[in-house]
């Protein structure tokens, strides 16, 4: 790797700490150039990909993460059982409901608390709302890396309606802290349901037709993404991909269906899978899940039972442990929660789907073009808060 690309009196920094100079420009085609694709880059977010390129071909990629490390797993140990949701939801607060639900279910399993049915339904509605919000941003940013900012703007308009609903429900738009062990935190008022229905109406009647017309069968988009970053079914399992990326390779793995939690066991929905396993298939999986989520919200609102929305959760939880997986927007989020009989968690291990997807990148980005790096990166649908925790 320690080669230099240099010209007469002209120096490139090829390795981070080593500055080498050479003779002629023609060397560029033969030797490797290290690009720091990240930290201060328009498309990378707070992480760095070290990309070694040979001309236009990517030879090797190495992710460098940890720029948004907050050590949430440690912080949780200093909180009470209820307070810990504040740290848990910050794993990635584009979809904060999924993580809170997973943590709450784990805590309830240890404490032996049974949640009222209404709370389950509210959790389902909120989780799917969070999934839609997250998928909207996922769609927008995927087309965004190809230089078109229109989808992001359209998606943000649709997202606003959901954030309005969350605001009516919990008083916050993004970090809502609204799902706690023992149920949900607030009574779902009629106004919240009304706002949620408005948001879903807007999504189904305005956003989905408009977006589907322009950006789904878009020929240029297909030219760029079909066949890029292709992963076969066996390879996807071997690489340990998670979430939409795994389903796009034909593996039908959806925690909502496989190990139903909250109210998902009683609702009717289908798991979206695609066989192709390329960037375009991953994009389509996100798109179709968005449509599916809107249907789930409608069903859950219709079937919303009467009753309590919260039961008492004990201050001290008996010693024990639980492992709970939830289908978060970006994949399967695992919680290994351990109690030692105290007022707060003894240890919480969070298994993040983005972390799994991130470490598949070095294998997936071998021998692709430099221009495909952002496409594959965006199609894996990662959240940086989730990678670093």
């Amino acid at each position: 790797m320690g080669n230099s690309i240099a010209t007469a009196g002209y120096t490139f920094v090829v390795e981070e700490s080593k500055e080498v100079s050479g003779e002629d420009l023609g060397l560029l085609q033969e030797k490797l150039l290290q690009l720091n694709w990240g930290v201060q880059h328009p498309a990378s977010g707070p992480m760095r990909l070290k990309v070694w390129v040979d001309g236009d071909e990517v030879v090797k990629v190495d992710p460098d993460i940890g720029y948004v490390l907050r050590l949430l797993e440690k912080l949780v140990e200093y909180r009470t059982w209820i307070n810990a949701i504040v740290n848990v939801e910050r794993a990635c607060f584009i979809d904060n409901f999924g993580t809170m639900t997973g943590y709450s279910i784990a805590a309830e399993k240890i404490a032996g608390v049974k949640v009222p049915k209404k709370a389950d339904y509210i959790r389902t509605i909120l989780c799917e709302g969070g999934r839609i919000v997250s998928h909207l941003i996922g769609l927008g940013s995927f087309v965004g890396v190809l230089g078109v900012h229109t989808p992001m703007q359209w998606a943000l308009i649709a997202r606003e309606k959901f954030l309005d609903a969350f605001e009516v429900y919990s008083g916050q738009r993004i970090a809502t802290a609204s799902i706690v062990p023992g149920g949900v935190r607030y009574e779902p008022t009629g106004k919240f349901i009304e706002k949620m229905v408005t948001a879903v109406d807007f999504l189904e009647n305005e956003f989905i037709p408009r977006y589907g017309e322009v950006f789904i069968d878009n020929p240029t988009l297909k030219v760029r993404s079909v066949g890029v970053g292709k992963v076969s079914k066996e390879r996807a399992i071997e690489l340990g991909l998670a979430g939409p990326a795994l389903r796009a390779s034909g593996v039908s793995s959806d925690i909502r269906k496989d190990y139903p939690y909250a109210a998902y066991g009683e609702l009717d929905f289908k798991v979206i899978t695609k066989e192709e396993g390329d960037a375009y298939a991953r994009y389509l999986v996100i798109w179709e899940e968005l449509i599916e989520s809107a249907k789930i919200i409608r069903q859950a609102i219709e079937g919303l039972p009467e009753g309590d929305y919260r039961t008492k959760f004990p201050v001290k939880v008996p010693a024990g442990e639980a492992y709970v997986n939830v289908e978060w927007a970006r994949g399967c989020f695992g919680f290994h929660l351990i109690s030692n009989g105290g007022t707060g968690p003894y240890r919480l291990k969070m298994r993040a789907p983005s972390f799994a997807n991130l470490w598949a990148i070095p294998e997936m980005m071998k021998n692709v073009k430099l221009a495909d790096v952002p496409v594959i990166f965006a199609s894996l649908y990662m959240c940086h808060g989730d990678i670093d925790r």
Partner: protein, 314 residues
């Protein structure tokens, strides 16, 4: 009007500055409309002065030269680029009598100057001594050279059809018939223009998500402003050439010629902006394949077709 007054005011510098601020404003408004936003709104009536404010903001920025950059070339290149493209404007007749210079080789000079741009942009990337700038510079050369051949060939088709290179004579001879015969050449010319001036979906040298901002990465403030402006002027000049060659220039009923010129031009611009709002960027190898395997053969066929037509007409 005296020639130097022309160069300074009416079809010259001041006029162009206003036109560019308006085009920039127009672009932002059209894009905002596609995005379902409002766009510039607060500065001036309907936000008309927003672009002026932005340009002045860029002008008063600190003049930063990167530590490793070649200082002389780094400060010189933006001006060289700007002067080269501003010269293009001198040959364009906006209406009867509104031109600075008119020669028998108008089209040739414009195309020659456009061909001179890639080295300038390459140097802009090279002197910055940054990896992203350098890759951007290489991509500019790659892309522009492949785009210029169809550009030349389609412009040549028009020149063959009219039998002259002087813009005034071309405008005088143009008619509905010439528009119809030159329609394929027009489409090729517009596509090649998008490639040469790297507008979306061919904005590969400036691909923000891949190589930050291409050869413009290290430039800031005034230098950035005039380099970016020179790319806009290049697009404007080539679109003006398209209007003159294929759409009949300033010809049109009732309204004055200059208005007709800008109405035709704004159609081309709206097309560009809508493409920008809806078409993802393509990849370098795909672009090269498209240029050399599709666009250039088509342009050659079109040239043969125009020559054939010319044979029967004359």
């Amino acid at each position: 009007m005296e020639a130097w007054l022309k160069a300074l005011f009416f079809p010259g510098f001041v006029f162009l500055l206003i036109v560019f601020l308006m085009i920039f404003y127009f672009e932002r408004k059209v894009l905002a409309d596609a995005h379902l936003r409002t766009g510039p709104f607060y500065v001036g009536k309907w936000g008309l002065l927003q672009t002026t404010a932005d340009i002045f903001k860029l002008f008063q920025k600190e003049f930063i030269i990167q530590r490793r950059a070649n200082k002389l070339l780094y400060s010189l290149i933006p001006f060289v680029a700007f002067i080269m493209v501003v010269m293009l404007i001198a040959f364009i007749p906006f209406s009867e009598g509104s031109w600075v210079v008119s020669t028998s080789f108008d089209l040739l000079i414009i195309l020659a100057l456009v061909t001179g741009m890639p080295p300038v942009f390459f140097y802009a990337g090279w002197v910055s001594r940054s990896k992203y700038s350098f890759i951007g510079g290489l991509r500019v050369v790659n892309q522009m050279i492949s785009g210029e051949i169809p550009l030349w060939l389609s412009a040549l088709a028009a020149a063959v059809f009219f039998g002259t290179l002087n813009f005034m004579e071309i405008v005088k001879e143009s008619s509905i018939l010439s528009f119809l015969i030159l329609l394929p050449a027009f489409l090729i010319f517009i596509t090649a223009t998008l490639i040469v001036t790297d507008r979306p979906p061919f904005d590969i040298p400036e691909a923000e998500q891949e190589i930050v901002y291409g050869f413009l990465t290290e430039f800031g403030g005034f230098n950035y402003a005039i380099l970016a402006l020179s790319k806009l002027v290049e697009l404007f000049a080539l679109y003006s050439v398209a209007v003159i060659l294929f759409l009949g220039g300033f010809k049109g009923p009732v309204l004055p010629g200059i208005l007709w010129f800008f109405i035709k031009l704004s159609f081309l611009y709206i097309f560009t902006f809508v493409v920008r709002a809806s078409t993802p960027r393509i990849r370098m190898d795909q672009l090269l394949r498209f240029c050399w395997k599709v666009l250039t053969p088509l342009a050659l066929l079109n040239l043969a077709f125009v020559i054939l037509v010319k044979m029967f007409i004359s």
